[in-house]
């Protein structure tokens, strides 16, 4: 079964010796057959090497390969320059040399059976299952053109040109015909998914380019299989016996093989999705289904002699959405890790055995002209093919493929283990020069993987970055540069995605209406909708209308009621089953093509002027939010989505929502008065500047209204049931907490557009809502009121924490007087202690500010108690300190 298993016990043993350093004594004991039946008596310990040999050797190989990976990564320098695949090949060569030296027989080679049945499927399944679908289908046309036409072109031109040169006599005397050359051309033509991924993962090219090369390497399998089979049978038939009918059959078989393979994949994906819908009570074997059914799709199409790679690719592509939604979070994690592990191990083994297989003098037949010309032809024709096809494509494509992209496309046409396995499969009796083909293929594979793999990274960087000068980017450049990145990605989102079209709309409609209903659990459908609401659609409108509703009803309590909590109280903690897998892509949904941005990928070189500067730069470097292009990985075989991104997204998301709510509230308040909120606001601001003695500005009638609301809110909120768990609540609290913000930013900018005096003076006006929300937050947990009081109590005595408390969470002081007047009375929950405060707070806003300016520690000192008490959120959910303080910070 395992072709790489040893052929005889002694050989396996030698291997064991070479690899694991097993005790030599043990080896001596176990001469062939030695362990068995030598002595009649009962053996306490028997050494049965032959018994465990095969699996043992396999396990040892895997161990060696894995250890080698650890070894490679010990040196960061090496791995950052040399792709892992190249290192593995070299390692394989060394190990092969050792084995050969010990044995003089190439015992371990990469056999087609092992490769196609056990090593390739996990890799392709992984590729399909984690395929960025939208991107893939968005570029499907281009991918198909490259995969089909490009591969045929490569095969034909390479084969024919080699034949032409052969006719000229440059290669000397070979037993070879036109069909042999075409056969060779067809197996060497295909870009290899394993090699391409291994190299491209380390070269960070833009997503469109990546998906084109990646997709091409996966989809060209059908073409390769057909061409290979056709020419092999032609060779077997003999050149003279090939008729036109056979050629037509060949073309027909292409459609059967490719479409059939795809269909098998889709059918199995359907099955898989359906099965996972009903695994609620067998969670533990859920992940198994994913692997088994996908593997069955591969085997089935292999059985029907269809394209197995297409089958398993499409199985992965089609099932991912439903499976991810159906299986539990733990299962999803298991699937992800297992899949990555399998794929990564398989890849490691493939490259290592490519190296090992090369150490076998019996397969080497050297023909300089043939080898070199093959190398030249595949590179040249690949480039020509790419240019021609791109020229054609660019007439229809939205996102043009620039010359640089074409270089990368041409240069990224790596050949790999598929070609090797195919060439080994050849029948030596029919193809007379099999060995020449094998050795040439090995050379080609090594050349592309090692040489091109090594050079593509510098090439891409060199092409993209005209590094005119090495200088340290100044602070301004760093900051604004990053800002530009954000601006760019925002504009991309606004200007829409590529290939947004009718078909996609129709499909998503069909999916929502039928497929999802059949294939997804009901709970999953719901939770998917919920996530859609928040992350994809970002249904702020809903949220806002809820708040508005709350105001109308005079209560925010219903926001927390279970029936509606999916709108407002969203769980922002990562939730891998659906969120993790889909969020990054969901967020991507609106995303259009992204420009190459190699510059930002590059480490920014710095020469540090002085220590302080270094700190500043470092802080910026480290904590500036990263723009999307940089941190969203498309697909990686070796890495899982880092959680950092989500944290960042959550952080920004919270801020954004809070600010939007603020500005929403403020515009709403403004609208009550006047449609032209902005103008009013400006006038108001101007007036306030002139006459700061008017406590309530121009909005005298708002306070009573607001106060009334507060009271209601407090009443309603205080007797609600126990809050659900706090992780769940965090979103809601934040949302509510955002109401607590002093909504000084009436400005249409919706931002913290207020200047300092405004902040101080407008607070009276906004005091009530602030207090309201503070109060609203209180009943989240019954103890909180008590806790809130504590830091406040000493406020009159010690000025430092008091103003902090005040401006942070409530700023109620100036609001007190009007609150009392209408007789509404302060809210029962927070009333008493707030009443005690006015004297302290009313002292002077200016004094407070002066004071806070002086104290450097102030911001931290004042926000901690407030925030912690406010909601007792888990630390991860705390609002960003400065974000919360934005308006208060005086200048």
């Amino acid at each position: 079964m395992w072709g790489l298993g040893a052929r005889g016990p002694d050989r396996g043993l030698l291997l064991a010796l070479a690899l694991g350093g097993l005790a030599r004594a043990g080896g001596v004991e176990v001469e062939p057959g030695g362990a068995h039946g030598e002595s009649g008596g009962f053996q306490v310990v028997t050494f049965e090497w032959a018994h465990v040999q095969d699996p043992y050797v396999i396990a040892l190989w895997i161990l060696v390969a894995s250890l080698a990976k650890i070894g490679f990564h010990l040196s960061h320098k090496v791995t950052s320059v040399v792709p892992e695949s190249a290192l593995l090949i070299v390692l394989g060569l060394v190990l092969g040399g050792i084995v050969w030296a010990a044995d003089h027989i190439a015992s371990f080679t990469l056999t087609p059976t092992v490769f196609f049945f056990y090593l390739l499927p996990p890799i392709v399944l992984d590729a399909g299952y984690f395929m960025p679908n939208r991107l893939f289908f968005g570029n499907l046309g281009t991918i198909l053109l490259y995969a089909v036409v490009g591969t045929v072109w490569n095969a034909a031109t390479t084969g024919l040109s080699l034949y032409g040169v052969f006719l000229s006599g440059l290669m000397g005397d070979l037993q070879i015909g036109l069909l042999d050359f075409l056969l060779f051309g067809s197996l060497i033509a295909a870009v290899d998914p394993v090699a391409v991924l291994a190299v491209f993962e380390e070269v960070h090219v833009n997503e469109v380019l990546f998906i084109i090369v990646f997709g091409e390497s996966l989809l060209n399998d059908a073409v390769t299989v057909v061409l290979y089979n056709v020419f092999e049978s032609f060779v077997a038939l003999g050149g003279d016996n090939v008729t036109g009918v056979d050629c037509v059959k060949g073309i027909v078989s292409f459609f059967v093989v490719s479409l059939g393979g795809t269909l098998v994949g889709v059918v199995f994906a359907f099955l898989l999705s359906l099965v996972t819908r009903f695994t609620k009570h067998v969670r533990i074997i859920e992940p198994g289904f994913v692997f088994i059914i996908s593997y069955l799709s591969y085997l089935t199409s292999e059985m029907l002699s269809l394209s197995a790679i297409l089958a398993i690719t499409f199985c992965g592509i089609c099932c991912q959405k439903y499976v991810k939604a159906n299986i539990s979070e733990q299962s999803a994690t298991t699937v992800r890790y297992t899949m990555k592990m399998l794929a990564s191990s398989a890849e490691t083994i493939i490259f290592m055995f490519l190296g090992i297989s090369a150490v076998n003098p019996f397969i080497w037949t050297w023909n300089t002209a043939f080898v070199l010309l093959t190398l030249v032809f595949i590179s040249v024709y690949r480039a020509i093919g790419v240019v021609l096809q791109t020229w054609l494509l660019n007439r229809y494509r939205m996102v043009q493929l620039e010359p640089i992209d074409q270089v990368v496309l041409s240069y990224g046409g790596l050949r790999g283990a598929v070609a090797f396995a195919l060439v080994v499969l050849l029948d030596g009796d029919k193809v007379k020069e099999k060995n020449l083909f094998v050795s040439t293929t090995i050379i080609v594979v090594f050349f592309t993987v090692i040489f091109q793999g090594l050079t593509i990274k510098p090439l891409v960087q060199w092409l993209k970055v005209k590094r005119s000068e090495h200088r340290e980017p100044r602070l301004n450049e760093k900051l604004h540069g990053r800002a530009f990145d954000h601006i760019l990605s925002a504009i991309e989102d606004i200007s829409g995605q590529i290939g947004h079209n009718y078909l996609r709309d129709k499909w998503s409609h069909f999916d929502r209406k039928f497929l999802s209903r059949v294939l997804m659990r009901r709970s999953a459908q719901k939770s998917r909708d919920r996530i859609l609401n928040v992350f994809h659609e970002l249904n702020l409108k809903d949220a806002i209308s809820y708040v508005a509703e709350g105001e109308r009803r005079g209560s925010l309590a219903f926001i927390r009621s279970p029936s509606t909590d999916n709108v407002v109280n969203v769980d922002f903690t990562p939730r891998s089953s659906t969120v993790e897998a889909s969020v990054s892509y969901l967020l991507r949904e609106n995303v259009s093509a992204v420009c190459l941005d190699m510059q930002s990928l590059e480490q920014r070189r710095r020469s540090i002027r002085d220590a302080e500067d270094m700190v500043t730069h470092h802080t910026l470097q480290q904590y500036l939010y990263k723009p999307r292009q940089e941190y969203k990985h498309l697909y990686s075989r070796h890495e899982l989505t880092p959680t950092e991104d989500e944290k960042q997204d959550r952080e920004i998301f919270h801020r954004t929502m809070r600010k939007r709510l603020e500005s929403f509230k403020s515009t709403k308040l403004g609208l009550n008065q006047n449609k032209k909120a902005a103008k009013l606001y400006k006038r108001e601001r101007a007036q306030k500047r002139r006459n700061s003695s008017i406590p309530n500005g121009k909005l005298p009638m708002e306070s009573p209204v607001q106060n009334f609301t507060i009271k209601e809110k407090d009443l309603e909120l205080s007797d609600t049931e126990e809050p659900p768990n706090y992780d769940e609540m965090s979103g809601g609290i934040e949302f509510l907490a955002s109401v607590t913000k002093d909504t000084a930013s009436d400005s249409p900018a919706g931002d913290t557009g207020s200047d300092t005096p405004l902040t101080g003076r407008s607070s009276p006006r906004h005091g009530p809502p602030t207090a309201a929300a503070a109060a609203a937050a209180v009943p989240e947990k019954p103890q909180i009121p008590a806790r809130l009081q504590r830091p406040r109590a000493p406020s009159p005595a010690s000025p430092t924490p008091a103003p902090a408390q005040n401006s942070e969470s409530a700023a109620p002081a100036p609001a007190e007087p009007p609150e009392g007047e209408p007789g509404a009375g302060p809210a029962p929950g927070a009333g008493p202690e707030r009443r005690g405060l006015p004297s302290a707070h009313a002292r002077s806003a200016a004094a407070r500010r002066v004071h806070s300016r002086r104290s450097f520690q102030r911001p931290r000192a004042r926000r901690r108690p407030a925030l912690l008490k406010l909601a007792s959120l888990p630390p991860s959910c705390h609002a960003p300190p400065h974000a919360l303080e934005q308006e208060e910070t005086p200048l």
Binding site: H486, I487, S495, H500, L587, N590, T656, S747
Partner: protein, 196 residues
């Protein structure tokens, strides 16, 4: 999502928009399509809410500011020409743009100067033609993670302003802003390929 690409509706004033923004016919059609897709209730204009619905913008630190940039002077709606005009800043600079520079015509929207100016007005909230230290601080707050303390931020803001500030008024004017970025390839960094 009843967006039909088939009825590639007539764009009102298509030609004049094209002249002003330099977009190709195809891009304009596509953007119009996008515009209508964003316009949820077929109002014929976009409100802030329409743009805020774009999920990815909520996790963009500058998302809301960029949304605001579509609504100059506090207006509540943006029509298609206005929408395209903003996007035109991000059209890649092409050779013909620089060649066929008509001195009489106004500078194209995608010139380096205009690209920078677009960025500048995202910072300059009070429209006084200067990025004050306070405004710089606000942008920094948006763009830097929560781990950085307020003190550090203020420090960074100070340094950033100082670095660019040449006339010593404690704020960055547009000229100074341009100057501080003169080494940067703004044309490339502020262009989107799909906006041709």
């Amino acid at each position: 999502m009843g967006s039909r690409s088939s009825h590639a509706a007539v764009i009102p004033d298509g030609d004049s928009i094209r002249r002003e923004t330099g977009f190709s016919q195809a891009s304009l059609l596509r953007l119009h399509h996008r515009f209508r897709a964003l316009d949820r209730n077929k109002k014929g204009y976009l409100s802030r809410m329409d743009l805020q619905q774009i999920g990815a913008l909520a996790v963009n630190p500058l998302g809301d500011r960029i949304i605001e940039s579509f609504f100059p002077d506090g207006s509540q709606r943006v029509d298609f020409p206005g929408f395209v005009r903003v996007l035109a800043h991000f059209r890649p600079v092409e050779d013909e743009d620089t060649e066929t520079q008509d001195p009489k015509k106004p500078e194209p929207l995608n010139s380096r100067r205009n690209k920078l100016h677009y960025a500048f007005q995202l910072y300059d909230l009070d429209r006084d033609g200067k990025i004050s230290r306070h405004e710089m601080l606000q942008v920094l707050r948006l763009m830097v993670g929560v781990q950085v303390t307020e003190e550090q931020l203020e420090n960074i803001a100070d340094r950033t302003v100082q670095e660019a500030d040449e006339d010593g008024d404690g704020a960055v004017s547009f000229v100074e802003f341009t100057k501080s970025l003169e080494k940067m390839d703004v044309e490339q960094k502020m262009s989107i390929r799909i906006l041709k």
